[in-house]
Amino acid sequence: MLTLGIESSCDETAAAVVHGDRDVRSSIVATQHELHVPYAGVVPEIASRRHLECITPVIDEALRTAGVTFDDLNAIAVGHAPGLIGSLLIGVSAAKALAWSLDVPLMGVHHLLAHLHAPALDNEPIQYPAIGLLASGGHTTLTLQHEPMHATVLGQTIDDAVGEAFDKAGTLLGAGYPGGPAIERLAQRGREDAIRLPIARIRGDSLDFSFAGLKTALLYAARGTPVGRGREARFPRDVDSLSDDMRADLAASFQWTAVQSLIRQVDAAMEQHEAQSLIGGGGVLCNTRLRQELEQLAQRHQVDLRIAAPKYCVDNAAMIAGLGHIACAQGHHSDLTLQARARLNLDAQGC
């Protein structure tokens, strides 16, 4: 059973051929990072135009690398939600056209659920129940899963996503974009305990996250307490005036605090729920410090730690194809009325 997966929810145009739900035959990702660097973020109109240019060559490349042709495909899976609507539409339209012309089943896959399946790619099946941490530029979500197709949301960010906090910290410290790798590089030379930054405390036993306060605390630590009032208010210093050591200390302290904010809630979730595995997916899971802390946590709770390989942490189509295969095998499929949706609750439906 070969499934072609298509992913275009944000700034990566991706296609992959997967045999069954885990055996990746090809996974091609055309990234647009460089196009968006001047804006320190993804610009939707630029992104969707670029998807349109890339989608056909990327699909061709996925087939060629896998050594198959269109006629060998048994199903088409596409990430249809959530994401930037103009970007999603390109992938969804391509998937529909292919499914219709090849007369094979079409499956719309929830992008976040696919990230939680990513650790199984090129690897052993995930043992359920599992606690999942999904951390990226647009999402910070804690889940409980009893099977790959359904997830219950235990907590999510009430303001900024953790990846967004890294991006904003990167901009604030003049470290560059994307902020995740930039902050991690800068942090290597810094001391994690140099500056005390706040870990958000959410009321009650909530498993939600908050990163807005951390971002503001970093701003004040970097630029000092503002002077003056109203329109005339100014920060006493610019980031440019900080020494390299100071910037490295700020980056290391920020990274430590962001990681601890995640770990604290994952730990609480594992206290509250029985699980055999701890799953990690999304771009922020590329962060080495976070991976180290998750390893310790998993050991302490004696669960199987399953973090996606870095190439499957970031947006890719292999995770879409793999989960799409599971959905099809369970008898689900979408029809040609499948819609791209900018937002779709993880709880609302399986795929």
Partner: protein, 159 residues
């Protein structure tokens, strides 16, 4: 124009609710202020007060546009213009539709990035600044009557 000092985050939230009390469908709310000045906190309180589902409300920095349904009628379009390069960038996001349907309240963070707006002036402009111990804010309503009718935030202090 009115100015306040907001000594803590609850005062920012109060201001959000005070502004919400004067808004009606078709309005545009333009907000400016640096990173961490409290723009998203203000919008969250405003949107919750008008009936948006708190679980739906979040920072639109990544997705650029969020949309919150308001009870039976109307919706809030919550936009982050930080990465837009001018007013023309609003058009592909759905600007004309929001303006034509008249059931939306469009709230724009980093509004100066898209100034002047393509077709309509904001009903209210809000500017926020980091100051020692809190934030300073200016609120300027296009319509004086609405400005006069807006209750002051309870913990807001004279600047």
């Amino acid at each position: 124009m009115k100015s306040w000092h907001l000594p803590h985050v609850d005062a920012t939230r109060e201001l959000g609710r005070c502004i919400a009390s004067q808004l009606r469908p078709g309005d545009i709310v333009a907000i400016d202020g640096d990173l961490g000045a409290g723009k998203t906190t203000l919008v969250r309180a405003l949107a919750e007060c008008m009936g948006a589902d708190p679980k739906e409300i979040g920072s639109p920095s990544f997705g650029l546009v969020h949309e919150y349904a308001l009870g039976q009628v109307g919706r809030i379009i919550h936009l982050d213009a930080y990465r837009l390069s001018g007013p023309e960038d609003l058009l592909p996001l759905g600007w004309s539709e929001w303006m034509l349907e008249r059931d939306c309240i469009v709230v724009i963070e980093w509004a100066r990035r898209v100034d002047p707006l393509p077709s309509q002036l904001p009903a209210v402009r809000i500017s926020m600044w980091h100051v020692a111990q809190g934030r300073d804010v200016e609120v300027c309503w296009a319509d004086d009557q609405r400005g006069a009718g807006m209750p002051p935030p309870a913990s807001g202090e004279s600047p």
